[in-house]
């Protein structure tokens, strides 16, 4: 009964989305205020019904209703309740429903938090988002109905959730990632609405900017969680594989980063308008492409749930409509919104332009590497795979090019600046950075030129930022008052840039200094990694809620002092019989110690053991959290709230409509 209710609610939501896509758009065209005013209500109605539908599916999972096909193939009565809940999106159908739910959340958020927005713009924006919802809800209903029943032969128990997905990180990773992915639909909808209205101005950028920043922040957190999960759950200590599915989430992030920066120029200076619109379309198209890559099963990956050509075809057609349609609209309308403001070459505008070019090129190179195997395969020229060496070779130099220029950004001025001023501002930070680069890597035993370079770049960033903060609050004289004068969006920028600096150091230090021993060990044996003595004590049998495990116990000492007790496991899940490695990690600010088990070797109780020493691996995740917090902070800025409290929206709206 409950699954049928969910199915029915999903159909109602689809009808509402269809209405939302058509009625307010028609109203905006005919200037019909009543039709336009329907938009927020339809948006909320759509959210309510998708939420009901999602709840029904969650209930089916929690109640072990194995007559529902999705539940039967992705859950099990032994599964802990929290994983039964997260299993809702641990499969193709459910994750698509989550996609739709989050899209409806964003749509309603725009409807609720935009009283300052002219009704005409609001109705166009919501209409565009409604159209996207139509696409996804019909995809759900037509090709991947989550409520399909297995009648009359109901299985006695379910197949179990893939053990890899039975993990706390996986409870929040997909929702966060989707919040980011789908959040770019808001920026996209604002861009399309602006193209439809033919008015791209600073106020458009101001409306769209907070949404874009929030979406970007969620995407950052989502990607970071995915990387962290891969590190401790996949059992081989890697944190980024340039796997096509990772790239699928990384490409919208790169394009989104460009978008966040070019929106700043558009808001502050009214420049780069057409470019910003194009980036908004590009970022959302890449989100859709990511969904296509992940969900169509064209890729070999943990994320590829099912292979069904019909599904792949549907998303491909949808993608073609969205990208093709918006590019045609862009071609027709963009020339009308070009700008006439100029800027000097030595200015913040050109620095941000540089940022945009770097991120765009980075996006395109990743896109090329990701799609190349698919194209070649489609042409029947063989099955290639493009590995991490390619991506590292193109991506790392690009980022190394970006960082030196990045420090100039905060200290630079809009419109016209002078290189003398830059020199005066950044001479001291530059010297400090060089000193750091020479001394800091000495802390580690062997001096590594790449780490020195990374320290140079990030110290340059950090010192430049420190200099700028100091300058802006008026030196030591204005200490408490000056600090308060700085806006949240400024602090957000500082935080995000500091996060980037932390990422650089973390990534390079881990890549250069990591020590990995894969070896055969018997209980009682010892191995030394980077001065840490790993003693293999014993192997014990352990029982979990839905698995049996061999647990290896390790004692880690350094210079005779106990550092940590580590107990990695090799689990056999009862329902599916699948085997899973559970690594044990001793985390630290400056180093992680990582132990994972392979398979038993020979008769003597020996095991294949993986011992890792990973310096500063956490810095990139902490850096990513900083970036996300920075992006969230910008939304607190007064200038976005001020517009909210001002403006009697309808009067303003009708004026805008003329």
């Amino acid at each position: 009964m409950i699954p049928e209710m969910g199915h029915f609610a999903l159909i109602i939501a689809f009808v509402l989305a269809l209405l939302l896509a058509v009625v307010p758009a028609w109203g905006a065209w005919r200037r019909n205020v009543y039709a336009m005013a329907l938009a927020p209500r339809l948006a909320i109605g759509q959210l309510v019904f998708v939420a009901i539908s999602f709840t029904c599916l969650a209930v089916a999972f929690l109640q072990d209703d194995f007559s529902v096909a999705v539940v039967a193939s992705n859950s099990n009565s032994l599964l802990p309740a929290i994983y039964k809940f997260s299993a809702v999106w641990g499969n193709h159908e459910g994750s698509l429903l989550l996609w739709s739910l989050i899209l409806c959340l964003w749509t309603s958020a725009v409807a609720v938090f935009s009283p300052q927005l002219p009704l005409l713009v609001l109705s166009r924006v919501l209409s565009v988002m409604g159209a996207v919802a139509v696409g996804f809800l019909s995809f759900s209903l037509l090709t991947s109905n989550p409520f399909a029943r297995l009648l009359p032969s109901i299985p006695p128990d379910g197949n179990d959730l893939n053990p890899l997905l039975q993990d706390p990180g996986l409870i929040i990773h997909p929702p966060l990632l989707y919040m980011g992915y789908v959040g770019f639909s808001v920026a996209f909808a604002f861009a399309i609405a602006a193209l439809l209205g033919g008015r791209l101005d600073a106020s458009w950028a101001r409306w769209s900017r907070p949404w874009t920043n929030v979406a970007w922040a969620f995407l950052t957190l989502g990607i970071m969680l995915g990387s962290w999960w891969a590190y401790y759950e996949l059992g081989w200590g890697g944190w980024w594989f340039w796997d096509p599915v990772e790239n699928a989430s990384f490409m919208p992030w790169l394009a989104g980063t460009a978008l966040v920066h070019s929106l700043a120029v558009t808001e502050k200076r009214g420049l780069f308008k057409s470019w910003t619109v194009l980036l908004a379309i590009f970022a959302f198209s890449l989100s859709l492409l990511g969904t296509f890559l992940v969900r169509s099963g064209v890729l070999t990956s943990v994320h590829a749930f099912a292979t069904d050509p019909a599904r792949g075809m549907f998303i491909l057609v949808f993608l073609a409509i969205v990208v093709g349609g918006s590019l045609v609209l862009y071609a027709l309308r963009a020339p009308a919104v070009s700008s006439r403001v100029s800027f000097s070459w030595v200015s913040r505008e050109s620095l941000l332009l540089f940022n945009n070019v770097v991120f765009l090129v980075a996006t395109l190179t990743v896109l090329f590497g990701t799609l190349f195997p698919l194209f070649v395969d489609a042409l029947g020229m063989g099955k290639y795979s493009v590995g991490p060496p390619y991506f590292n070779a193109v991506f790392v130099p690009l980022m190394a090019l970006l960082a030196p220029v990045m420090a100039f950004g905060p200290v630079s001025r809009w419109k016209r600046d002078s290189t003398q001023r830059w020199k005066a501002e950044l001479l001291v930070p530059g010297i400090v950075a060089v000193v750091c680069a020479i001394t800091l890597p000495l802390v580690h035993a062997d001096y590594n030129i790449w780490v020195a370079l990374a320290v140079l770049l990030s110290a340059w960033l950090v010192c430049g930022l420190a200099r700028d903060v100091w300058f802006r609050m008026g030196g030591s004289a204005g200490f408490p008052r000056g600090l308060r004068r700085l806006t949240p969006s400024y602090w957000g920028m500082v935080l995000a840039h500091l996060g980037f600096a932390a990422c650089i150091v973390g990534v390079v230090a881990t890549s250069q200094y990591s020590i990995e021993h894969d070896l055969k060990m018997s209980p009682g044996e010892t191995d030394v990694v980077a001065g840490y003595e790993f003693r293999f004590l014993e192997v014990a049998q352990v029982r979990g809620p839905n698995y049996l495990a061999d647990e290896a116990r390790f004692e880690v000492t350094r210079n005779g002092e106990l550092v940590a007790m580590l107990a990695p496991q090799k689990r056999r899940y009862l329902a599916s019989g699948s085997v899973m490695t559970e690594a044990a990690i001793d985390p630290g600010v400056f180093r992680d110690l990582f132990v994972a088990m392979g398979e038993p070797i020979g008769e003597g109780g020996a095991w294949a053991i993986r011992l890792h020493y990973k310096p500063m691996v956490r810095w990139m995740w902490v850096g990513s959290i900083f970036m996300a917090l920075g992006a969230f902070a910008t939304v607190m800025d007064k200038r976005y709230r001020r517009q909210r409290s001002s403006a009697t929206s309808t009067a303003h709206g009708t004026e805008y409509a003329r």
């Binding site: 193939s73 190179t365 390619y390 894969d518």
Partner: protein, 149 residues
């Protein structure tokens, strides 16, 4: 020249130079960093290059997995049921690697026709099969249990 035009010219020049640098970088990175998949039949017929990075995949032959007693070396064979290719891998195998299951190994062929693998990928869950393996089997005309279709 008009300053706006001059600015535009510089912009175009900058983009051209930057993107050609990027394309050069890509071309450089693509050399030797991509590898092609070969079904075991092709390897057996000598169609696969020796000493270059390639991938070979198929079903792991039942009873072919031999683990060394004193190291992490593992030997096994992958097959598409027409021909099979011996693989040597030193390291820890993925959890879902097993006899009678699909696997893809990447590495280099040595002169004896043995694939010296640097990485072995297995399927990710019970119902999933690497697409390359599926295709290789389709070409040889067998299903994953070795029954002729």
């Amino acid at each position: 020249m008009h300053p706006v035009r001059k600015q535009r010219l510089y912009l175009v020049l900058f983009i051209v130079i930057f993107s050609s640098a990027a394309i050069g970088l890509i071309a450089y990175a693509m050399r030797g960093n991509i590898n092609l998949f070969y079904p075991p039949t092709d390897v057996a017929q000598g169609k696969a290059p020796v000493g270059q990075p390639i991938r070979v995949g198929g079903m792991v032959v039942e009873g072919s997995v031999q683990r060394a007693d004193d190291s992490l070396e593992t030997r096994f064979e992958v097959t598409d049921f027409e021909a099979s290719v011996p693989v040597v891998y030193v390291g820890i195998l993925p959890d879902l690697f097993d006899e009678g299951q699909g696997a893809v190994a990447s590495g280099k062929l040595d002169e004896n026709g043995v694939l010296q693998a640097s990485e072995v990928l297995a399927k990710h869950d019970e119902n999933y099969m690497p697409p390359e393996v599926m295709d290789a089997l389709e070409q040889s005309g067998f299903d994953h249990k070795g029954v002729k279709q």
